[in-house]
């Protein structure tokens, strides 16, 4: 196998490919990236057998063939090479890498391409197309709410559901939940709801540009995504996602409208003195005013008052402050509504004016 191409063309793809190879300490064939060239095209493939990546770039094929190299080192080498045309040549289990006009020579061990695991078939899938911007904003509104507790593996990903002309994404760790229901003008083919590993969504976000479109194909066990020539896929999380609809409050008695920026600032300050394990803060809500305070600890106590738009009885809510900080980071607009009924029932956080998403937080017990 022998081909020539410009460093930057290849580098961009290998950066992506690396995330799809095995990152375990013990090296194996799945730590490698597969390179295959014929008819002036280089096919690049990587898989750790859970996720997979395929792409193709134009090169000058000097001798058709294929091989695999350790992706991490290959990328390291590419990064340091001068920005120019580079020749890659495989012979005797070694990949020779040398820039056209330079005396640099790398010889990288290879493993035969035949030994590389077969990637999932991607050509015959039916894809649907949606805007990257929509897709990634759905991801941002939910992904932070997943659980990293491996014993609740079915909450380690984002739930995606087809709903007439919209897509619904939900993520939860069992104590808070984030929900978005985005409408699409085009028809999206129906599919059984799936749980997408958070890692895959992060990889897609890295590959995406937030502009243009993304093509998706969803089966019961695998999700495929395509950006032009780049195809990525991941096996899905098996398991039963909890019945989230049951925990979304249909109505809530009280609404408190608060400035996002003011609340963020107050939380930043008060959280300095919050006990680190429970992360509990108190919110005392009264007409026109909300007092955010930490518990008295060995270090002391913090208290801050901010104005709000609220009329009703006085209430005290106790919550894990990170459950408020996370959604406030992604909420759009100047104001949000904090809706509740009773101090020991679910609290809803949503933008004001309302949009197609909200966040639910279960409160903590008070002492």
């Amino acid at each position: 196998m022998k081909f020539a191409c410009h460093k930057n063309t290849l580098l961009k793809e290998i950066i992506l490919a690396l995330d799809f190879t095995s990152q375990r300490n013990t090296l194996s064939i799945v730590s490698n990236v597969l390179l295959e060239t014929h008819e002036n095209i280089l096919y690049i493939m990587a898989t750790d057998q859970k996720v997979g990546f395929k792409t193709q770039i134009p090169v000058e094929t000097l001798e058709a063939g294929s091989t695999t190299v350790f992706c991490d080192k290959f990328l390291g080498i590419l990064r340091t090479l001068p920005d120019e045309n580079i020749i890659f040549e495989e012979s005797n289990d070694t990949l020779l890498i040398h820039p056209d006009s330079n005396s640099i020579n790398f010889e990288l061990r290879t493993i035969a391409a035949e030994k590389y695991p077969t990637l999932e078939e991607t050509a015959n899938q039916t894809y649907f197309t949606i805007g990257q911007k929509d897709f990634f904003s759905m991801v941002s509104q939910t992904i932070f709410a997943i659980s990293d507790d491996e014993t609740r593996y079915f909450m380690n990903g984002v739930y995606l559901e087809h709903n007439n002309d919209s897509l619904i994404m939900v993520a939860t760790d069992g104590r808070r939940l984030s929900y978005i229901n985005r409408k699409f003008s085009q028809t999206i083919p129906s599919f059984t709801p799936v749980i997408i590993p958070a890692k895959f969504l992060t990889l897609l976000k890295k590959a995406g540009t937030d502009e243009g479109e993304i093509e998706l194909s969803i089966t019961d066990t695998i999700m495929y995504a395509r950006f032009g020539h780049q195809i990525m896929y991941s096996t899905l999380i098996k398991g039963q996602f909890p019945n989230y609809r049951r925990v979304i409050p249909a109505t809530q008695s009280f609404t408190c409208k608060i400035s996002v920026a003011e609340m963020n600032e107050a939380l930043k300050r008060v959280s300095l003195l919050v006990e680190n394990k429970a992360k509990r803060i108190y919110m005392d809500i009264e007409t026109g005013l909300i007092t955010i305070s930490s518990e008295e600890s060995e270090f002391g106590q913090a208290r801050e008052k901010i104005t709000c738009d609220y009329t009703g009885d006085n209430y005290q809510l106790a919550i894990n402050y990170t459950y408020l900080v996370n959604p406030l980071r992604v909420i759009e607009g100047e104001y949000f509504n904090l809706c509740f009924t009773e101090p020991n029932r679910a609290i809803t956080i949503k933008p004001d004016p309302e949009r197609d998403y909200f966040h639910i937080i279960m409160p903590m017990q008070k002492d």
Partner: protein
Amino acid sequence: METIWFHVDMDAFYAAIEQLDHPEYRGNPVIVGGLGNRGVVSACSYEARVFGVHSAMPIYKARQLCPQAHYVRPRMERYSQISRKVISILETFSPVVQQISIDEAFLDMSGTERLFGKPRQAAILLKTRVKNETGLVISVGIGASRFIAKMASGYDKPDGLCRVSPGNEIAFVDAVGLKKLWGIGESTLKALARHSITSVPHLRQHSLNHLQQLFGEATGLYLHQVSHGLDPGIHTGVTKSRSISTEMTFPVDVSKRTVLEQNLLGMSHEVMFRTIQEGVLASTVTVKIRFSDFSTISVQTTAEKPFFSAEQVFTLAKSLLASRWQEGQPVRLLGVALHSITAGTPFLQQELFENPYQRKRDLEKVVLNLRSKGRNVQKASLLTPQEEEKSP
């Protein structure tokens, strides 16, 4: 008021009782322990120790060293009975008696001088009374802390009486030596040796800071304190990292998955019930496996939140076992332990979804309650096949 602690250690306790109950054993080596192939020595008389027999030694080895000894199975009920008798004598000496095992106790003797005389006199009185009323010989250690008293009682066993007067603690720990300092075991000794620390004075030369850098915060502090004769807080009732554990050595090696899992289930219940009883929470579970070649491994996993139920502990224990045990591999010993134990209000954060283990926890509480009333409630899967056949 001067703080005075006594540590009372009943010499070769089990063996001494056997000699007491069987006059023909007196003056001869007596070894108490499991008598099967897998047995270990629980206790041995001083006559047996001459031959190099010591407790925790495999019984077959003891038989090689001292074939002429009297070998007897432990009679725990009898030993407990005598133990209670000794403790009741101790209780006439001090209102604060802390029994730490069947044959050991601490007495707070502070301020008892007018009743029993100087510490040494009080100790002689105590030894005499125990000897007269039970026939047993005890060793007494006297010190300003439990730590010093404990090591003093071991200093000239048997029938020992050792007092470390206040101010002499450093000289005393130097005399005891690194090897016999309370809490320093084989592995700590090795770790110390790697840093060329081979004696207590050596150890004392290192600053607290330096020791903590070398051995970590807790161990560093511990080593610093003991080298200065200070009590690192032994048996103060507040242990820093506790665990609740159980294990069992199988009579013959087990290599069947079902049998191992059934034992895990039983042990998961046992440890979880103990947490419920004590009103504590645990969020780490460890499974200990000893293979037929004595190689031993421990695997553990920590959940984000405290365990709800024994079923949950069992599920995790089962997958821990599966991660390290291959079908058919013979297992000698299996154990389950719970760590990361915290007291107090459990489930501060409310849940969105009903926890699937909540109901099981409620059920387990009911079972526990029934058992405390003397009812025998058992999981069907824990019954042995014979018992199943017997039931109608």
